[in-house]
């Protein structure tokens, strides 16, 4: 009984900030008050019409779409190569491709900033997109690698023995069988890219910055609840995605939490 109460309390601690943000977002006054003195959607209106947020939202869509479109084929090719081909230095390549997972954001951000300055590419979407591709790749590769490992090469060989050319085998057999992994990869790519902040802060300008960077700048400069409204929209979208993912992908399997029956 006590144990259960402790777990509920800890889960409440984890959820508390979310609840506070949602309550704050409908607060009618500029100064936050609890309990709120009424209900108002004015901060949503302000958030949706604030020019810098609009520009940043467009940038976010561009950067996320472009980086997912690039990372998915690159990651799939890398996953196939890492699992299927007897590469020399396979461990080394795996470590290189997965390294963005463990490199601190400020180190990667500063490195890319210096690199971009050297190449004269500052204030350019390309740098931001390249950064996102690098950061998203490990998630894509991992998701696809699981599917590749589960794929029975006999199926591909069967198709080939029936006369299908390599490209046709890939398109008609390999790709459809990889679909669960590709779907998970796309999901991770979008979530990671949409939320990426630290590296983006280093390599973006006021013109190219994406939503999290614009939100950061807003919080540093203003205290009104507009940020709460934006955050609520963000949280709402995330909850929908995570819930759908749990239904579709059975997250407990993805995170390897076994159940003993």
């Amino acid at each position: 009984m006590i144990a259960r109460a402790v777990v509920v309390l800890l889960l409440a601690f984890m959820t508390l900030p979310t609840v506070v943000v949602v309550v704050a977002s409908v607060n009618p006054t500029e100064m936050l008050a609890f309990p709120p003195s009424g209900f108002s959607l004015r901060w949503y209106e302000h958030a949706l019409t604030y020019p810098q947020f609009r520009r940043a939202a467009v940038n976010s869509v561009i950067v996320t779409a472009a980086s997912a479109a690039l990372a998915l084929p690159i990651g799939t090719a890398a996953a196939l190569a890492l699992v299927r081909h007897p590469l020399r230095l396979r461990g080394f390549w795996t470590a290189v491709l997965l390294s963005p997972l463990v490199v601190p954001g400020v180190a990667a951000g500063l490195g890319l900033l210096i690199l971009a300055a050297r190449l004269g590419l500052l204030a350019n979407h390309a740098v931001l997109i390249a950064a996102h591709v690098i950061l998203v790749l490990p998630f894509v590769i991992r998701s696809v690698m699981v599917s590749v490992a589960n794929l029975d090469p006999m199926l591909e060989r069967a198709a080939a023995s029936l006369g299908a050319r390599p490209w046709r085998v890939f398109r008609m057999v390999t790709l459809p069988l990889l679909r669960p992994g590709l779907f998970a990869a796309l999901l991770f790519a979008i979530i990671v890219s949409v939320n990426e902040f630290v590296v983006s802060l280093f390599v973006s300008t006021r013109v190219t910055e994406i939503l999290p960077v614009a939100m950061f700048t807003y919080v540093v400069n203003y205290t009104d609840p507009t940020m709460a409204a934006v955050s609520t929209l963000f949280i709402g979208a995330t909850f929908v995605v995570v819930f759908a993912a749990d239904r579709l992908l059975h997250l407990s399997r993805v995170f390897q939490i076994d159940t003993h029956r």
């Binding site: 500063l110 280093f202 919080v219």
Partner: protein, 254 residues
């Protein structure tokens, strides 16, 4: 591969802080890291990371245990979604939310928390909990409940079963979870930046100040290299230990 290029650039860029870009080779940037005014931030970073690791472990174990051992699929799903949602909400939203909670307008805290080390600590623990919970839950769920039942059937009380059977068997998860959280916290940026309000600084905030505010890229690079080396070292130890663990008793860590 491109990431490697960036890292390479970093280490090259530990050059003299010429007012614009580069100068000759020097170790002045790294010696600056050890100057008293900066050493303080490194010490703060170590202390905050250590405290975060301990508190995160204590707060996460019960949730992880419930997640791994609950018989109800619905409860498991609920805990998982509540655990993962902040994981996916992004650092800025989460940190902003804590600014609201810790500020005095919502809850009248008896002591000042926002822009103090205590507030940063709370934010960091909250930030690390999902990771720790997932690692611990995976470790606990790999323990066959048969061991616990055997101990109980031999007359051990629940608390004794937990202390003598479950806890020792989940030790690999505890160690790897703690190391991962320590490594991540060591280079944490948004949480100390916003909840510290410039009064509490960790190493990543110094990197950002030097790089984006004073345009001292070489000096900033030295701090980034320190953060990078510590993070990679701790994580290398982790994977080393996990590998040995797997070899020792045939348990699969992943």
């Amino acid at each position: 591969m491109v990431a490697l290029g960036a890292l390479f650039q970093l280490s090259v860029l530990t050059f003299v802080p010429g007012s614009l870009k580069t100068g000759g080779l020097t170790d002045a940037n790294f010696r600056a890291v050890l100057a008293p005014q900066y050493l303080r931030y490194i010490w703060d970073t170590i202390v905050l990371s250590a405290l975060t690791t301990i508190l995160t472990l204590l707060a996460s174990y019960p949730v992880a245990y419930a997640l791994a051992r609950t018989p109800s699929a619905r409860v498991r799903s609920l805990i998982l979604v509540l655990t993962l949602a902040p994981f996916f909400t992004g650092a800025i939203v989460r940190t902003y939310a804590w600014m609201l909670v810790l500020g005095q307008s919502f809850i009248k805290w008896p002591v000042k928390l926002l822009f103090e080390p205590e507030g940063v600590l709370i934010g960091l623990v909250h930030f690390s909990m999902p990771t720790m919970i997932l690692i611990l839950a995976a470790a606990i769920s790999h323990i066959d409940p048969v061991y616990e039942r055997a101990a109980a059937s031999l007359g051990a009380r629940p608390s004794r079963v937990f202390l003598r059977v479950t806890l020792p068997l989940s030790l690999p998860g505890i160690v790897s979870g703690s190391l991962v959280v320590f490594a991540w916290t060591f280079s944490a940026f948004p949480t100390p930046e916003l909840l510290g309000g410039g009064r509490v600084k960790m190493i990543a905030n110094v990197v950002k100040d030097l790089a984006l505010d004073s345009f001292n890229w070489p000096g900033s690079g030295a701090f980034a290299v320190v953060a990078l080396v510590v993070t990679l070292l701790v994580l290398a130890v982790t994977s080393r230990m996990l590998g040995r663990e797997a070899a020792a008793d045939g348990h699969r860590p992943a």
